[in-house]
Assembly symmetry: C2
Homo-oligomer: 305 residues x 2
Amino acid sequence: MTEPLPRNDYEAFIPGLLHWVSYCNNGAEAAKEVLPLTVAGATVGYVRPEFAKRHLQQFPDVFQASSSGSIQVHPQLATQQARTAAIAAVLEQLREEGVIDGWRNELYPAVQSFHDEPAFLLERAAAPHFGIKAYAGVHINGYVRLPDGGLELWVARRSRTKPTWPGKLDHIAAGGQPHGLSCQENVVKECQEEASIPPELAAKAIATGAVSYTSLQAAGLKRDVLFCYDLELPLDFVPHPQDGEVEEFMRLPIHRVAELITTTDEFKENCTLVICTFLIRHGFLTPDMPGYLHLLRRLTSGDCS
Amino acid sequence: MTEPLPRNDYEAFIPGLLHWVSYCNNGAEAAKEVLPLTVAGATVGYVRPEFAKRHLQQFPDVFQASSSGSIQVHPQLATQQARTAAIAAVLEQLREEGVIDGWRNELYPAVQSFHDEPAFLLERAAAPHFGIKAYAGVHINGYVRLPDGGLELWVARRSRTKPTWPGKLDHIAAGGQPHGLSCQENVVKECQEEASIPPELAAKAIATGAVSYTSLQAAGLKRDVLFCYDLELPLDFVPHPQDGEVEEFMRLPIHRVAELITTTDEFKENCTLVICTFLIRHGFLTPDMPGYLHLLRRLTSGDCS
């Protein structure tokens, strides 16, 4: 077994960690170039001008260009239900036209802040096209505390047949936050489905904060908020894949995880941000290390609301 | 002994916690009305226009008004040493004139970011007058884990004879970050001086993040960054006052601490922010509670760099 690093030596990882934070925040500048998507005056998303022109303009009963340059959902669609239904019909047509694909059959709420009443709900696959803030779920750091006080993290390798990030390293469990489920319920559900963690054990996961970022993608602006959880697992617990999304689980010393993050691209990118918060909260990174406050602040660079 | 609250019931504390965050951030708007204080083009502080006019203008060899409206340290003072000495002489005169008082005999660095080479050092008492970012130290949440898994926090009552916040509730230990000491060394020093915590125990304190805020005071703009630490203490450990700054120590259930913060003004204000991070990191507050992300984001409202 590898000797654990003295905690002071984690300083060397900070530039590599900052790399991934910047990687996930490549859309901060681009945010100026997209058009706000509004409902009754409130901005709930952003669309690329060319997407608005080529694809939304053909639905004038649903989307209108306003004089201020924003795109507004037609005011005649006065309720959440009406907007959700009208937009679903638009998305169905855009799907048939091949403009949007990768349907997840999961509804995301369009909101300014997490606990707002949604202006409308829309298929998850369309969230980036409309720059909807995605509460892209609960991310669980599953770890064990060794008898000597050291920590090890359970890491999953995603199935190589998954359409998204095949073969990448990931958390022991994580999943998008569907409308209508509490975060706590979602933690228990994902732990069960992805790693066969019994509900009574998963229920011990502790909410520890959130990270956010803004990423420019081909489709549009990905504005994600991730909720971070820690789950201390018994030393003898071994997770098992259940739903076919995971190929294998590995338990790695923290410094090995930090090395993999900072010297390879093995990890799914946004997981690196959640692991950063773990390194910060558990004192592997400290204010005595240059770049500490910068990293801390950048972890909520997105619209963390 | 009081029955601990179910964790879900902490939701009710969020508005009261947000109150203190806003209280400590009453200077965000005022930041627009103060003049930047620059050294070689870099902004390292802010001064009230009237302070500049009435008090700094009499030292044209040290402070100059620039055409852009900022106050710059005279470019002829080309080194940290030269600036520190010239500003110390200014402060000595302002002290004699009764403009600045409460000398702490502790030097704060004037920097843009924590690990920068300081543009100059100045007496801590003058930091708000010059809007210097104050790394107002290490704040240690000293807690115990009960056999049933519940947490209790050690809280200090400040001496009633202390010039600042007499009689208020405070952390088990905390202290400003003097130039030349590492945060980790400062933790050990403050734990020893304020609570008689042996160095080998204090060394187990874990860095967990930071909070920042901008507060408008009579003197000027207080721009503070606080480094947060957790120190898990043995169940049978009892802290003792050593340097006369603390009147007594109490061990309180977390929900009692949250109640005191949200229903009284017993706590020194900025301590409430550090305890907020404790409530967030240990899962007493969760994303299922309205206001969670708002609180999380607002805890680094100041210039957290």
